[in-house]
């Protein structure tokens, strides 16, 4: 028996693939030959070592999945790449930092490595349908002296500082004539911050107001917030059906397309 044959026989023996007389013969040889017995032990240990690699990899993958779940549950937001990036007036993509994007990308690559194409469909759909949001210009009519009262919030949003823009729009009082508009902006800040639950609640307030200027937008974005939050409940279905049934709704076609993909 040459070295390669011996190697294959030992592997077959350890895999339980030797049967009948082949098995009996091999076991007899192992008993009689201490060198062969030592070799079998070494192969056995090699298999255990490889098994440890598999075990470690699986543990890492399960922990990654837990982290992913935990991030979703607590709405902790450190992955701006998950949401369509904010754009400036000139269309330049703003990014919070290269590090956070690389970190996000690394996490995504690791997860894709394990789950391949099984990536979360709700979030894929959200990414597909949420096309970002462009805040109005801070200076109205191109007049440098005519500064929009929400300019601070707009600029914070454009700079990717969503916490600051959230704080700004949250503090616009209900009595302010721009309150509903501010709520719409606030909803988008929450979406970018991946706080989908708060985004849904905020857009919901605009929907309730039935302010004709914003209601259709608010309905659509509330739907997307619910989708991202994996909350396809009665509210989700009501909003979706309303947009599908109303052929004049600004988001009628998108709603139909989304429904077909669900």
């Amino acid at each position: 028996m040459d070295a390669q044959q011996q190697f294959d026989t030992i592997e077959a023996y350890l895999a339980g693939e030797l049967k009948g007389s082949a098995l009996a013969d091999f076991e007899q040889q192992v008993k009689a030959d201490t060198t062969l017995a030592a070799l079998v032990d070494e192969h056995h240990i090699a298999q255990d070592a490889i098994e440890l690699l598999i075990e470690s990899d699986l543990r890492k993958e399960l922990n990654l999945l837990r982290e992913k779940d935990s991030t979703r549950t607590t709405k902790v937001v450190e992955m701006p790449a998950r949401v369509a990036p904010a754009t400036t007036a000139s269309g330049t993509i703003k990014r919070r930092s290269l590090f956070s994007i690389l970190a996000a990308a690394a996490s995504v690559i690791l997860l894709i490595g394990f789950f391949g194409s099984q990536f979360d469909s709700s979030n894929n759909l959200f990414d597909e349908y949420y096309d970002g949001y462009q805040m109005p210009e801070s200076n109205r009519s191109g007049d440098a002296t005519d500064v929009h009262p929400f300019a601070i919030g707009f600029e914070a949003y454009k700079a990717g500082n969503y916490e600051e823009s959230i704080n700004f729009f949250k503090n616009i009082p209900m009595e302010d004539k721009g309150y509903r508009e501010a709520q719409l902006h606030l909803g988008h800040c929450y979406l970018h911050n991946e706080n989908y639950s708060a985004a849904s609640t905020t857009f919901g307030k605009v929907v309730e107001s039935q302010d004709i200027r914003f209601v259709e937008k608010a309905e659509w974005y509330q739907l997307l917030a619910l989708l991202a939050n994996k909350q396809q409940d009665a509210t989700f279905k009501t909003l979706l059906n309303k947009m599908i049934d109303d052929k004049g709704h600004s988001y009628h076609q998108k709603a139909q397309k989304l429904n077909a993909e669900l």
Binding site: A49, I50, L52, L53, I54, R66, F115, Q118
Partner: protein, 198 residues
């Protein structure tokens, strides 16, 4: 949006066949919220916290995966029941080690026929350390080849995954890496003796 579901036979077959199918069923098992909550409930009722329960669930999946691949799983037991049983034994072993002895057994409908001890289920810390010191001397690429081979990937799949020009080249490299590992093991008789004494 329909979720994939698998029968016990499909779970076993997919894990044994390895490759992407194995990954899919492991994900399926991981997402079994009902089983996960039963395990967490057992752990939290017995001196553990939620995080401990999640850890046990993960460790149980790791052991289940290995035992199915190594034909140690008796198919008359349900996969869920077996997984629950593994997790329970692992946790019982851990709290015994910690001296927290009072166990509130969960008399659920889960199977509890498996009597394998936890020591046989996972590598001990000492074994892990030794095995890691041995396999860690291999290059990462060699580790990956051997891992994929052990997970029943075909040589064609290994070639594709690791960028070898052909299945024959993958086979040649697998043999070379396997020989290297055996040579490393041979060079460390003391460590090998420690492992053999287990």
């Amino acid at each position: 949006m329909k979720a994939d579901t698998y029968t016990d036979k499909e779970v076993i077959a997919a894990i044994k066949s390895g490759g992407p199918k194995r990954q899919e069923v492991i994900r399926f098992l991981y997402q079994d919220a009902s089983l996960k909550s039963k395990i967490i409930q057992f752990v939290t009722r017995n001196s553990g916290n939620y995080h401990d329960g999640e850890d046990m669930f993960h460790e149980g999946i790791i052991v289940l995966d290995r035992n199915i691949r190594q034909n140690k799983f008796k198919e008359e037991t349900s996969v869920q029941g077996y997984l629950y049983s593994i997790c329970r034994f692992l946790w019982m072993n851990q709290i015994r080690k910690q001296g927290k002895v009072t166990l509130k057994e969960d008399h659920s409908e889960m199977d509890s026929t498996d009597t394998t001890t936890p020591e046989q289920l996972l590598f001990t810390d000492e074994q892990k350390e030794i095995l890691q010191s041995l396999v860690g001397q291999l290059g990462e690429r060699c580790q990956k080849i051997l891992e994929l081979w052990k997970l029943s990937y075909s040589m064609e799949e290994i070639a594709q995954e690791l960028g070898f020009s052909s299945a024959a080249m993958a086979r040649k490299n697998k043999y070379r890496c396997h020989k290297s590992l055996l040579e490393i093991i041979k060079k460390h008789p003391k460590l090998v003796n420690t492992l053999k004494e287990r």
